[in-house]
Amino acid sequence: MVLTIYAPLFASSKRAVVTLVEKGVEFESVNVDLLKGEQRQPEYIAIQPFGKIPVLVDGDYKIFESRAIMRYIAEKYRSQGPDLLGKTIEERGQVEQWLDVEATSYHPPLLALTLNIVFAPLMGFPADEKVIKESEEKLGEVLDVYEAQLSKNEYLAGDFVSLADLAHLPFTEYLVGAIGKAYMIKDRKHVSAWWDKISNRAAWKEVSEKYALPV
């Protein structure tokens, strides 16, 4: 029975989708249109009680939270594709550290920018200029720390690409694209080199093209 991932066109789901593609795992996808509020329908709430995306369904087994799904796939398919968890417990610790940094420090301001700049006009709610300004400042501070880290290491957790790097792909694609703030990445030498490397990986190029949100 084939794995099914829900809402592949949206950024949070793409964290899980790119992990599946990196690991060469076969899967199917089911579209959920967030712009039409399909995630709030009873059939969807039955599989993700918070009404958020993504969900991965594997036969009777269901799991939500994109980073939990990433960990699950990386562990289950450890022996195929790149090892995205590091080779030792200590390397895994570093992967978890930077995955958590993405979740707690990088993602919140970037999500605020995405909602206010990309989705506000699409969904007809007013953009909050104050939030945009504060979010850009906060994200800039975080990126300064990344710049220092990436001047010492090729990837966030060390000299190997991991879940921590992949987790950044979907929303950073918004940052350099539809949000119109590519300079935040480009103006930082090591962050820029890291972004070029991870966004040019075959798996991300495939996901980015195949599951592009038609807006």
């Binding site: 939270e65 799904i69 699950y72 895994r92």
Partner: protein, 215 residues
């Protein structure tokens, strides 16, 4: 050589790590980083945690930050000792990860600003944003209903046993229960049952004593 935990035992994020150490029966030493005097922003601490936050650990040459990543690392490294915090097999572990991530993305995003306004600001002589707190409580109510439903058919968040998923909620919950938000928990039968059960654990009681909260 004993692991050093940099932080303050009264602060929620370091408490997450202390609780993990206590559950896993791991010896540790707390090195006090004084948040009231912003010691976490000073150069010496920034070398350990570049975002200027607590906690951070030093275990011989191995260093790590992000409380949840630290907890996961020690739970993995000491899998055979103390409480099993990560589940017995991959599918169970992934559900543990799922509910641990729910804490980050749905619970903490609301709990943290509520605690900031109701507990921390008054201590610093700052004004509490009453309107914001009411909005956050309304959103928290929706989230707690989902937890209530989950705990109606599960003894703990990830199933029959106490895991990282429950542990990771405890520090912020501990603070929330000292505010009038405790009414929201007490009004929900299963959440109340769950909270009473997990706070009866010896590790929690020891932590509360260390933090000077309980007699």
């Amino acid at each position: 050589m004993v692991v050093k935990l940099y932080g303050q035992v009264t602060a929620a994020c370091p408490q997450r790590v202390v609780l993990c150490f206590l559950e896993k029966e791991i010896e540790f030493e707390i090195v006090h980083v004084d948040l009231d005097t912003l010691e976490q922003k000073k150069p010496e601490h920034l070398l350990r945690q570049p975002f200027g936050q607590v906690p951070a650990i030093e275990d011989g040459d191995f260093k790590l930050f992000e409380s949840r990543a630290i907890a996961r690392y020690y739970a993995t490294r000491y899998a055979d000792q103390g409480t099993n915090l990560l589940g017995k097999f991959l599918e169970h572990r992934a559900i543990v990860d799922q509910w641990a991530d729910v804490e980050t993305h749905y619970f903490n995003v609301l709990a943290f600003p509520i605690v900031l306004n109701l507990v921390i600001k008054p201590r610093l002589g700052e004004e509490c944003d009453v309107v914001l707190v009411e909005e956050l409580k309304a959103k928290l109510g929706v989230v707690l209903d989902i937890y209530e439903n989950r705990l109606a058919s599960n003894r703990f968040l990830a199933g029959d046993e106490f895991t990282m998923a429950d542990l990771t909620h405890m520090p912020a919950m501990g603070y929330l229960m000292r505010t009038d938000v405790n009414q929201m928990v007490k009004a929900r039968v299963n959440m109340n049952r769950w909270w009473e059960e997990i706070t009866a654990r010896p590790a929690w009681k020891k932590l509360m004593k260390m933090a000077g909260f309980e007699a």
